[in-house]
Each structure stands twice: as C-alpha cells, then as structure tokens.
Symmetry: C2
C-alpha cells in the first residue's frame, strides 16, 4: 500500500471544497483505500510519499478539445466560427491524412495533456481513420484516460476532408470494434455537427451508438449563424437539440454536447430529461465571438455542465486558465442579469475535475473507493488557508507547479522537460 501525505482539497459536491489538511491518502491497486489524519499501527507495509506542504487535488478533465487542431493554437483569433473553420481549421485537419504528421503531432499533444494535468479528456480527432488510431495508441502508450472520436463529416466541408457516407460509417465501426473494450481509451461517436452530416450519416451513427452502447459527442448551438443554418437544414425539427434526438444521438447512450449557448426552452428540457451533459468552453466562445453560455442558469435548472478547452478555438489547453475564464464569463452574465450569481471557484473546480458519472465514474472525489487520480501541487508560497492556496494556484500558478500526476495510482511522467 502507498500513502500520500499532503493538504488534500477537492469538491465532493459542486458548492463547496472539502479540505483535509496534512492528511494521508492510502492507495492500493490504484484505488483509494482510506484517508486518515495519522498513520497508526493498523497501517502496515506502507510506502510513504511525503508531500507535506503540497496540495493534493484531483486531476483535471478536458471535456472537449480537437487534437487535429493542436498545431493551430493561437492562430485565426480574429475570425468568427464559420470563417475560422474555412480559413484555418479545415486546412490544418486535412494534414492528418499523413500518418507521419499525426505521429509527430499526437506525441506532443499527449505530452501536453500530461504536463497540464489533464489526465482524462474527450477528444475530437479528425475524419482520418489511421490518424485517429494513432491517437488511440499514443494515449494508451502514455497511460492517459480518454474518449476519442473519429470525426464524421460527409457534406458542407472542403473536399479534401469530406468522407463518403459509407466509408465514414465503416471506418467508425471498425474503430468502435477495435477499441470498445479498451479499459482507458475508448471510442465515442462524433458527428462533427449537424451541418456537416447527411441525414443518413446521422441516422446510422445513432444506430451504431445504440448497437454497441458507445457514447456520443458533438457541437450544439455554438453560434447564432450556425443555429440558423441548422434551422434551414431541418425545418421540420423544433430545434437543434431535437435534430440530434431524432437520430438517437441525444442521451440514448451517454452524450455530451459542447457549447450550448443558444438553447430554447424545449432544448434545455430535452437536455435535462435525456441526461445529456453539456460542455462550457469559455475561451473558445470569447475568441470566436460566439456568445456566453449561461452556465449558472443551467446549473440552477439541474443541467450538468462540464469544462472544455476546445483547442484550437480556445487557445489554452491548461484547465486552470479555463476555470478562470468560466468564472469571469459568469461574472459578465451576472453584471447583465444580477439574478444569476457568478459561479464560485468551487463550482467551476467541480466542473473541471468531475466528469459525467456515465463517462468518468467517481471522478473528482478523493474519497475511499475512488480511483486515485490526482495532482501534487507545489504552490511555493504556502501562505493562507488551503482554499486560498488553491485559488492562488488556479489564478497565478502554472503547469510548472504540478509536481506529480497520478492516474489510477500510476505516476505519469513527462517525457519533455
């Protein structure tokens, strides 16, 4: 058994931090066996890892990001969504037809996930089957936990990344079959978004998700122009959410939808009733002038909201940056609508460390019976309460303050220094 000593802080519930100062987490086979204030004679054969004075926090989860846009981070930040896709993104994604390129980029991508402490993630790859498999293999090799989606897209996009419908389905099914029993890196059905998918593609992806009980991710109501486009494409559907729902891609299996800025009343109810998780990507929404997700309103209405970097529309893959932006975004909404209070740091930390229970069960809680998925933070200054120290780390710290990264009790090491 291993014992990790330090100042433990996490969110057992979304509204407040749980703090256990100067305590021990006992870990056996990757699972938290106990948490205690002293190691007494009952605890035998223990290897002590003494991180006294350091913070022990749950590892971060990036619930929405595009590995195929990794090299594009920080470019095109002067364009709204649809122009940004045309002028930068589709061109960059097309490069993943080359496997050597995917090998090189995904090595760096995985390394950055580890460095940043984002040990769990839900990823959009590209349309390319081989490159997507390279990403699966890299993530497995690095010991990370993830859901990876080969992107599906058979219309309304440049020819070099447009798939045939049949090929798109066949490639997806092969990936699902190859990886669905993987313990750590699993497939997720990933239609890019409604406008780039034919009805047949959406229909068959819905069936495939159900047949293999595979989760689903996509984009929803990110931008007013896009919402209007979907309305024109599906005039028969009441709203954007209903389009996914009509194809069995909206909670029929575990589902997460990124952005969800412009939702109708019915759309919100469907999300809630179908148990769809939604992903707030504030950096991306600011950068593309998409809008601001009313996260506090959604939380009040019992919708589950998580956090994503959405690189490369978001420019930072470092989750504490996204936490700060999410708090700021909620303050901007609060200034306009004072009835919605700003999100607290505890609320957003919960969103950043606790994934959907049906995708990452037990995440975010450093409690008995849970997987030991944690970061050791050397916050240097040490002054103040544990909660203040966490706040200072989130607002002013950097990945250089993350000293160790544990996933299921295994220490993940950076290859780059």
């Amino acid at each position: 058994m291993d014992a990790y000593k330090g100042d433990i802080i996490y969110t057992a519930a979304p509204d407040s931090f749980t703090v256990l100062q100067n305590s021990f987490i006992l870990v056996k086979d990757g699972i938290i066996h106990d948490i205690c204030q002293v190691l007494d004679s009952d605890h035998k054969n223990i290897t002590l890892h003494d991180y006294s004075g350091h913070l022990i926090i749950p590892s971060f989860i990036d619930m929405h990001l595009h590995s195929g846009q990794y090299m594009q981070k920080g470019l095109g930040m002067d364009k709204p969504l649809l122009q940004w896709l045309e002028s930068y993104t589709f061109k960059e994604e097309a490069r993943f037809s080359e496997q050597e390129y995917a090998q090189a980029v995904y090595e760096s991508f995985c390394e950055e996930l580890i460095e940043n402490g984002s040990l769990k993630s839900v990823i959009f790859a590209t349309v390319h089957k081989q490159s997507t498999e390279i990403l699966f293999e890299k993530l497995i090799e690095k010991g990370l936990s993830a859901y990876v989606g080969k992107v599906n897209m058979d219309m309304n996009c440049p020819m070099e990344i447009q798939e045939g419908t049949i090929t798109s389905l066949k490639d997806t099914e092969e990936i699902v079959l190859k990886y669905c029993s993987q313990p750590m890196v699993k497939p997720i059905i990933t239609p890019r978004f409604v406008p780039t998918c034919s009805r047949m593609l959406l229909q068959e992806l819905g069936k495939m998700a159900f047949k293999y009980n595979v989760p689903v991710q996509s984009h929803l109501s990110e931008n007013r122009e896009e919402v209007q486009w979907v309305k024109e494409l599906f005039p028969d559907c009441q709203n954007y959410s209903r389009v996914y729902n009509s194809f069995g891609l909206f909670g029929q299996t575990p589902t997460i939808m990124a952005h969800c800025i412009y939702l109708t009343k019915d759309g919100k109810e469907l999300i809630k009733n179908n148990g769809v998780g939604i992903v707030h990507c504030p950096q991306s929404n600011f950068n593309l002038s998409s809008g601001i997700m009313p996260a506090a309103e959604y939380l009040n209405n019992g919708i589950n909201v998580f956090l994503g970097s959405d690189i490369a529309a978001g420019h930072s893959m470092y989750i504490p940056d996204i936490i700060v932006s999410a708090v700021q975004a909620s303050k901007i909404i609060h200034m306009k609508n004072p009835q919605y209070m700003p999100l607290t740091l505890a609320q957003v930390f919960y969103m950043a460390s606790t994934g959907p229970e049906n995708l990452f069960p037990g995440s975010g809680k450093l409690q008995k019976g849970m997987s030991f998925d944690a970061l050791i933070i050397d916050d240097e200054r040490k002054e103040g309460t544990v909660e203040e120290r966490l706040q200072r780390f989130i607002y002013t710290g950097g990945k250089e303050h993350i000293k160790e990264r544990f996933l299921r009790g295994i220490s993940l090491k950076k290859s780059r220094v």
Copy 2:
C-alpha cells in the same frame, strides 16, 4: 555600434503591424540609428547580435498596477471592488509600514516586471513614504523605467493606512523633490480615488502637480457603486471626471486614469479635450465584476486607450494575457453592439507597447531615432508569417519565450532563473 538581427514587428500606427523580416536594427548609445536589410561596407565597427529566426518586438508597458498588492495576486477573486478592498487589499497594503517587508516584496515585484518584459510601468505604491522610496530605489537599481506614485488617502479607509492630510502632502512633496530629476524612475501624483481623498488633499495635490509639472494618475468610474458614492460626495459636480478636473488633476499635467467604464458624454469629452489617457484593465474588470470598458467606442472617438494589468485586482502581470483579455472584452461588447467591431490584435498590441507620448515618448516604435526598448522572442515553432508568429506567441507563449530584454539599448537580466 550594435546590430540586432531578427524578424522585427511593431505597430507604427494603431491599425496595423509593420514587419521587417530578417533585418538589422543598428543601435548607438541606446538609440536606434538605422534599420536595414543588409549590413554593407558603410557599417563599420559593428557588434552583431544575431537573433535570426527570433522576433524582435517593442517591450511592454504596464500602465496601471499596484505594487503594494503584489503578494495578494490570485486571492479574493470572488468579491466586487469595495468588498475586495476591505477584506484583502487594505490589510495587505498596511504591511508596507514595515520597510523589511517592502524590501523583500519589491525585489520580487521588479524581477517579475523584468521577466515579463514590462520594462516600463506606471505604479501605485502605498501611502508609506519609506516603502515608496524603497520601490524607487529598486526600480532604479534594476534599470527599469517607471512612474511611481506614493498613494494619497486621508479618509474613508482603515485607520492603519489613513494619512493626515498635511503628512500626506508633505511626504508626497518630499518624494517629488527627491526624484523629479531622475531620468528613468519618476514621481507621479497619485490620489487613490475621489472617495478616499478630502477636498483639501485633492486641491493641494492639484497645485503640487502644477507647481512641479508632475504627472497625475488615479482611478475613474470603475464600478457603478463607486460612481454613485462620488456623486453623493460631490453633489455639486456634474460628473466624476469633473471632480478631478475641478482640482487641477485632469490633464493640467500629463494624466492617466484607470478603468473609465462608466463615463458620461461630458466626461468623455473632457477626457478627450484635456488629453487625458485612459487605461483599460480587462482582467481586473472581469474579476471584480466591474463592467467592460467600451474601448473600441473610445478609440473611435479619438480617446487614447492604454493597457494595464491592475494587479492584484487583475491576477496576471504578464501583458500578453492582458492583450488577449482586451481582445476578448471587445468581442463581448461587439456581440451586444455589433456596430463596435472587435479590437484587432494590432490595435491592442499598440495599446500594450505604445504609452502616452507625454509620459513615454516614442515608445512602441522600432524606428530610427527612437530608444531601443525591445524584447527578443524565441517563438520556437517559427511556422507562418511574422504576424502569425506574433499572434501565436501572444496567445500561447509565455515569459519563458522572452530571451532578451533591452531598455535604452541596455540588456536587463533576470536575477531569478
């Protein structure tokens, strides 16, 4: 003569970048003597500093920050302005009655300015004369350029940092006399803001600024509650700007005012007509739920807008973070009022590198006759145009990419590694 070779980029005007790829900046006695594409036989006795493949950009200017809040960065981020002052800030500033504390903190503070490439700044110290002098000496010792204000505050604040009016004036005048002929670190008259200054104090500070021709800085219209408070304190004044103006603290000598979120039409006209520079501090304004400065509207109306970190209401002292936030803030305004276009990166880079002409003449321009105040950026990836590389550095880079820092041609070195 020294020659610096690299990819030069700066904003000669606010609306676009000037790019000189693979060029030489010739520097003599700290002044840019010439810029050329080749070093020919006319150029003799030249020491070449070859930064080929690196970016050469102007150094940053932080136009508004509080050195006395340096240790508080990243704390209290869940409170609006007036509560934040009460619960954290005033207590922290009170610690600067101890000179040992000031010595230690200001050493780190100056080091961080250098690391971040903020080689010029305009600083609020605290009310304490000795500690403020310590800050002057530290900045001089480090070779930085700055305006430093001993804060004036004789009412509406906790007793431990409240000054007597006479003492406040006497201490300020002594500092002005001691440092006004300093070439690099100069005094600036710094009434904290209207609510903490008696009429007599404001009156005499205005006279002092005029008598010694010393610039002025303060806060203006940061928050609705504060604007209301000023209205109650000065019912006879048309608006907040007019209060400063009535005491000769509004452009009678070079003046900058931080925040300026809630301005009346008359207030804006007074700013423009009196040539007052205003400082946009978007991180701070988000964190304290203050509001969003309509910077694009002000620029359209011919008002000069600069950029400030406003630590510790802002949590980052790294100017590229503030640039990104300023662009994002302008996008939030654009989404609400589409007639105001988002600020471009060039516009905000200009705000971040070009100070007011009456405080930092010639700043931001890597041109013949200007001071060589520049940063050498190793942007690692190198891919793309020089403008794209700068954008990538601003959005995704960090201070670790700043390889050299020059002020008046002198290389400033970090003491910390």
